[in-house]
Symmetry: C2
Subunit: 433 residues, 2 copies
């Protein structure tokens, strides 16, 4: 049974606050282990990576076997049935079309003082993408990480994917091929992050590392941050569905379960303005939980972290949504655009009754790497901007320096930075001579 | 004496690599202390903040004295001489004009399948800005952090600035007033970061924290990252000047010294295609180091981390610049725009002989909070984007779902996520009925 809340209950505020602050994930403290692994890879390079891969993935590698060969990739890709291949290609095409539009423009202008100002975007030279092995090895995540990088213009894109006991998901290799990935290494864990960040004899270092991973991978990414850039550290997935009574309860139930089935720590919340509809959805979820393949996981998530909140009206729903700041927000109402205007903190919004969140996981076009754990209050999903950086540009003419230089020198002096002021004054002195 | 390198020397590559990897800063390990302070502030709120402020800043506060009053701010602001006030206002106006142009557009379009896609930018609701007290208390940094936040539309902007022994820089308060800051607290250190991140009885929590600080502040920002957003963790400042022989050696020397005077760990590098000019600049630096107020700091920085590199030609200079990925890059050459096109990794570029870096510190318009320690390879200076987040939007019509839904269901199945697939198929079933 999920929690049932009603904004008209006397204890609603306390119960809702508790829901917001509930800790859903206990990350094991693996920081010391990870620090040792990173130090080992920095010191011994390929030898350390090979040893650690033998230990954790039971794979005996050599330096020339760290990377998949083009033949291996082609062979695996050829194993993928036509339906999946077509679906991956459609997804890639739509994701690419969406992300191309994100490319930000450069700018340059000359202001009334004669200063020419602007900025320029350039791509990160080399990026690494971590792809989990085993259960959580999702080809869709390969597309969602690799395509923005390639659209941004990343020259060299490397993937690290562990292949425990030699197992590899052919769809992951096909997705990498479709996305234009340049190198694929069969390594994982903290050792893969260290190899990408610092390089080894075989693997050249990258400038930015993205992609999901387990506690070891997350801890390693935190540790190498600064040496390289990283994306967010993602927590368990979440969905908030705001639905009026005019929805099929089973559709909403399935949308809630499509997050719950990810992980026992996932969270699915329904907000509705109709108490009877709330009960209908709860019943529909129970019915689906009798037969879903992943009913054990989904059921645990729903029991421990699921919630159904009944509100007086949809504006109350929007206010609660802003406090939740959900990763995924579905608006199954008559005027979803109108309601969306009031929902200002959310990773992604799915509008209307025919836009289940799962569309966004695969083929919608927007990225499915999104801020979790209320971080949509201050951060955004993955985009081409994560693989670009901006250089600001400024050029003063002598006239511009005459106009604004004295103010710079004045402020430098007030900050006791004499050389700053002199660097301006020396030029002004020559101009005034 | 700085290091002299020449790309024609046999050992150049080894010397340049050593220069790139030289560790310039030893951060003391204050992580345990900081963890204890954060836990204390979370547990005891105002009481902990007040105790820690008494201990570290020798200031006895009460909850109602944590914030400066409007009267206190007005009184301090009135103490600032007119020249400084005018300079701050000019700087604020130019910084605002630059950052307004950074506001990114929203987007919405309907694709051939009938899917309406897009994104929307919204501001972070509340932001906190840390301002160091004492020596490194720079009013210019208040403008550089606060103005982008206000341009982005941050509703509530709070400053934390320690006032050891009651000392406060009136220019900092005036800068905050000019920039439209809403709250100013006389607290500092890890306790200030904890108070901003988690809130206390008096201080409401914020969503994002930016601004420079000492090792305690940096460690605290790392620790609260995830609970709130943070900007970069800045290292010591750097400048790379690329200059041909047609420059006044004293101007270039002053530009080099304007970074060196910041900090003994700062780094100033000159690259020139003329060996005689290299010597002239070295001599000019030595001369300036006889009289500069901050000659002890600047001299140590120049001796320990300064470098003068002679190259065959300017294209070689650009290649080295890209490996350095400098925070500040000055191009004192005849065709600075042409050379800038080859310099793809830099935080900010200053073009031509009349654009000393110090202009950019105060009144140029672009932000002076920039990526250090080679992180310009993958990150950008502070901008309005740091105070905005993007929500992606998607709306499917029934026709769009019919067109692309089957591919989503196919991929969901291949990832063994049954509920994902069913959430799409249930809708398709109804549409096909």
């Amino acid at each position: 049974m999920p929690q049932f809340l009603d904004t008209q209950d006397a204890d609603f505020e306390a119960a809702f606050s508790a829901l917001l602050s509930a800790k859903r994930e206990d990350s094991p403290d693996v920081d010391d282990t990870v620090a040792a692994i990173i130090a080992d890879v920095r010191a011994r390079g390929d030898a350390a990576v090979i040893e650690l891969t033998a230990k954790f993935d039971r794979m005996e590698l050599t330096p020339d076997r760290l990377a998949f060969t083009p033949d291996e990739i082609a062979t695996a890709a050829a194993m993928v049935p036509a339906a999946e291949r077509d679906a991956l290609e459609l997804a890639a095409e739509r994701i690419r079309a969406y992300h191309v539009r994100q490319m930000p423009p450069d700018a340059s202008w000359t202001d009334p003082d004669g200063a020419t100002l602007g900025w320029r975007w350039t791509a990160v030279s080399a990026a690494g993408l971590y792809v989990p092995g085993g259960l959580a090895s999702y080809p869709s995540s390969v597309l969602m990480n690799a395509i923005p990088a390639k659209v941004a213009g990343v020259d060299r894109l490397a993937i690290a994917v562990p292949t425990p006991d030699g197992q590899v998901n052919p769809l992951v290799l096909l997705a990498a091929k479709i996305a234009g990935v340049d190198e694929i290494y069969r390594i994982g864990g903290a050792q893969a992050i260290a190899a990408l960040a610092y390089g080894t004899g075989t693997i050249a270092p990258v400038d930015k590392i993205t992609g999901p991973g387990n506690a070891f991978v997350a801890a390693a990414k935190r540790r190498v941050f600064g040496k390289v850039g990283i994306d967010m550290i993602a927590g368990p997935s979440e969905i908030l569905v705001i639905a009026d009574k005019d929805n099929d309860p089973d559709w909403v139930a399935l949308d809630l379960m499509s997050q719950a089935e990810h992980d026992e720590s996932a969270q699915s919340i329904l907000i509705t303005d109709d108490a009877d509809f709330a009960q209908l959805v709860a019943a529909a979820v129970d019915k689906r939980l009798e037969t879903l393949d992943r009913r054990a996981i989904a059921g645990t998530s729903w029991r421990d972290f699921g919630a159904i909140i009944t509100v007086r009206d949809l504006s109350e729903a929007a206010a609660l949504s802003n406090r939740i700041a959900p990763e995924h927000l579905e608006l199954c109402v008559n005027d979803p655009e109108g309601l969306a205007a009031s929902c200002v903190h959310a990773g992604a919004i799915f509008l209307g009754r025919y836009t289940p969140e799962a569309i966004g996981d695969y083929v919608g076009g927007p990225n499915h790497v999104l801020p979790t754990a209320r971080s949509a209050r201050f951060s955004s999903g993955l985009s081409v901007l994560d693989f670009l950086k901006r250089t600001t540009m400024a050029r003063m003419t002598p006239e511009a320096l005459r106009a604004i230089g004295p103010s710079a020198a004045c402020l430098a002096q007030s900050e006791s930075l004499e050389a700053h002021g002199l660097s301006v004054r020396a030029r002004l002195d020559q101009l005034n001579r």
